[in-house]
C-alpha cells in the first residue's frame, strides 16, 4: 500500500458493532432511521437518538458498476454498489454475489449479508460488515 488505506485496526474494532449487527439510529424527535449511525439525526438535527435495528430486506433504488477502483479492490473489478431502500431508511452499500450483472435493475429485492469488506492489509486488519445481494431465486422486478 503506497497510498491511503482503509480503516485502521483500532478504529475498525471501535466501529464494529453497527457494522456487524446492522444497527442504525432512530430519531426520537422525527422518528426517522439512518445508517450508519451519526451523533445527530441527518433529517432534523436532533441529538436525541436511540439504537435501531435496520431491516435486512429492501429494494434496489439504483446501482452502479464501478470499474475505476482503488488499490486492493482492482482485482475484483467491477464492483457493484447500490442505493437501497429499506422502507424505513436508505443505505449505500456494496452489492455482492452478483452472478448475473444483467439481472441488476432498479426495483429488484435485495438482502443484507455479513461479509468481508476489506482484505487483510499490512496492519493485519480485516474489516467486516454488511453488503447486499440480490435475493436468491427472486426474479428481476419481483
Amino acid at each position: 500500500m503506497s497510498g491511503v488505506g482503509g480503516l485502521r485496526n483500532v478504529e475498525a474494532w471501535r466501529t464494529r458493532i453497527p457494522r456487524y449487527r446492522f444497527l442504525g439510529a432512530r430519531c426520537k424527535s422525527c422518528g426517522k432511521l439512518h445508517y450508519p449511525p451519526l451523533k445527530a439525526c441527518p433529517y432534523c438535527g436532533s441529538r436525541d437518538l436511540e439504537e435501531a435495528q435496520l431491516p435486512r430486506q429492501g429494494r434496489l433504488l439504483a446501482f452502479t458498476s464501478v470499474y475505476s477502483v482503488e488499490e486492493g479492490g482492482r482485482e475484483e473489478s467491477p464492483i457493484f454498489v447500490g442505493l437501497i431502500d429499506l422502507g424505513v431508511a436508505r443505505v449505500v452499500a456494496e452489492l455482492t454475489d452478483v452472478t448475473d450483472p444483467s439481472r441488476l435493475a432498479a426495483g429488484i429485492p435485495v438482502e443484507a449479508v455479513f461479509r468481508r469488506i476489506s482484505e487483510e492489509d499490512d496492519e493485519g486488519v480485516i474489516v467486516y460488515g454488511v453488503k447486499f445481494r440480490p435475493v436468491p431465486g427472486a426474479g428481476e422486478g419481483d
Partner: protein, 374 residues
C-alpha cells in the same frame, strides 16, 4: 469599500511530473503578483488530495518560505473538493476584517501516484465510516446519482453526453485547460466505463495545478467580490429525501444571491467532477427544470449565444481539470477574468456579474462566490 480580486495567476493543469506542489504554487503566484508588486500580509493555502498522497502539515508556512513571504501570516483551509472556494471565503473574511491584502493559493498534485492510489485517497471526500467504507474509489456515488437521474427523469445516456462535449469544446480555447481537444457526444457512452452509466469521458482527469488570487480590500483590479457563502449538506446521498436535489448548493446559492443583492449571474463556473454533478447543479440553481438540464445543454443554452448564462467557459472540472484543492481558486480566477474581459478563452461578452459554485463529493458542503465587474 468591497474586497476586490486584484490579480490572478494560473498554471496549466497537466501531469506535471517534473513539478512539485511548491513549483506549481510559485508559478501561479508569480503570475498573480507580476504586475501588482504588492506583498500580501496573509497567505491562505488550499490543498486537499496531496495532503494524503504526499503529506505535509503546516504546508502554508512552508509555501510562504518558498514564496519569500517569511513573516506573513499563513494558514491552510480544507473542505475537500470545495477547498478552493472555502479558502476564498476565509481569505475574503480576513481581507474585510483586517484591511490587509490576502493571497489565496490553491495547489494539488494527483499525477505522482498510480491512479488506484489516487482513487483511494479521493474516496475520502466521502464519509469515512459510510459511503467511503467499501473499496470502490471515488466514482461510485456519482454513478448512483446518474443512474437515479436517468431512471427518474427518463433522460437517455446520449443526451447527458452533451455536457462533456461542451466542456471539451470550451477547454479547447482555454490555455490553462488540461484537455484541449474536442470530444464528440457520441464517443462518451462507449468510452472506458468508470461507474456505470458514467465513463471516463464523464469524469475529471487526474492532473496537477495551482491557482492564485490576490484579494485586496482597497478595491481595484479584475472584479469585486459581492459575496461568498456556503452551507453544509447531508453526510450521504442516503440521508437525502431527494438526492438529485443538492440542498447545500441551493442554500449556499440563496445566501450568496441575497447578500450580493442579485437574482442571477451572466457567467458561471460550476463543479462538474462528473457529468451528473454538473447537471444537478444546473437544476438546483434553477437554470434548468428538473430533468431538463442535459437537454438544455445539448441545445447550447449554456455556451456562447445560448439562452442561459455562460457556464464553465474554462472547460469545467471535466476538461479544464480538477486539481482538487486548487479547483475553487481556478474558478474564482476564471470568473474574475471574465468580468474584466481578459479571460483567454471562450468569453462572456460584457458580463457584469459572475459566480463560482463548488461542492465536496455529493454535496456534503457547497460554496458560492459571487463577483461583479469593477
Amino acid at each position: 469599500m468591497p474586497v476586490s480580486v486584484k490579480s490572478v495567476g494560473l498554471t496549466r493543469i497537466d501531469r506535471h511530473y517534473n513539478k512539485g506542489v511548491y513549483d506549481l504554487a510559485v508559478e501561479a503566484v508569480d503570475d498573480a503578483l507580476k504586475d501588482s508588486g504588492a506583498e500580501p500580509s496573509y497567505l491562505v493555502a488550499s490543498t486537499s488530495a496531496s495532503l494524503l498522497l504526499e503529506p505535509q502539515l503546516d504546508l502554508a508556512s512552508y509555501l510562504a518560505s518558498h514564496l519569500g513571504l517569511r513573516g506573513s501570516r499563513a494558514l491552510a483551509v480544507e473542505a475537500g473538493e470545495a477547498s478552493g472556494l472555502a479558502a476564498i471565503l476565509a481569505g475574503y473574511r480576513l481581507a474585510i476584517s483586517t484591511g490587509e491584502r490576502v493571497l489565496v493559493v490553491g495547489v494539488d498534485k494527483l499525477s505522482d501516484l498510480p491512479s488506484a492510489s489516487v482513487h483511494a485517497a479521493l474516496k475520502h471526500v466521502f464519509y469515512r465510516y459510510g459511503d467511503a467504507l467499501y473499496k470502490v474509489g471515488h466514482a461510485a456515488v456519482a454513478g448512483l446519482l446518474a443512474s437515479l437521474y436517468m431512471d427518474r427523469f427518463g433522460v437517455d445516456r446520449e443526451t447527458m453526453s452533451y455536457w462533456p462535449a461542451m466542456m471539451h469544446s470550451h477547454a479547447k480555447e482555454n490555455p490553462y485547460a488540461m484537455l484541449r481537444f474536442a470530444v464528440k457526444p457520441e464517443k462518451v457512452a462507449t468510452a472506458m466505463p468508470v461507474a456505470s452509466p458514467l465513463t471516463l469521458l464523464d469524469m475529471f482527469p487526474l492532473g496537477d495545478g495551482a491557482a492564485a488570487v490576490l484579494l485586496d480590500p482597497q478595491g481595484g483590479g479584475l472584479a469585486e467580490i459581492a459575496s461568498v457563502e456556503s452551507s453544509t449538506g447531508p453526510a450521504s446521498i442516503a440521508f437525502s429525501e431527494d438526492p438529485l436535489w443538492l440542498d447545500a448548493v441551493e442554500e449556499s446559492w440563496r445566501r450568496a444571491l441575497s447578500t450580493a443583492g442579485v437574482n442571477g449571474v451572466e457567467v458561471l463556473e460550476i463543479h462538474d467532477s462528473y457529468t451528473i454533478m454538473g447537471l444537478l447543479i444546473l437544476e438546483t440553481l434553477r437554470l434548468a427544470e428538473r430533468g431538463k438540464a442535459a437537454e438544455l445543454v445539448a441545445e447550447g443554452a449554456f455556451t456562447v449565444g445560448g439562452s442561459g448564462p455562460l457556464v464553465n467557459a474554462s472547460g469545467g472540472l471535466k476538461a479544464r481539470g480538477h486539481p482538487v484543492g486548487a479547483t475553487g481558486v481556478y474558478m474564482a480566477a476564471e470568473v474574475a477574468m471574465q468580468l474584466a474581459d481578459v479571460f483567454p478563452g471562450v468569453k462572456a461578452d460584457d458580463a457584469k456579474t459572475g459566480a463560482a459554485v463548488s461542492i465536496n463529493g455529493h454535496g456534503s458542503s457547497a460554496y458560492t462566490a459571487i463577483f461583479r465587474s469593477t
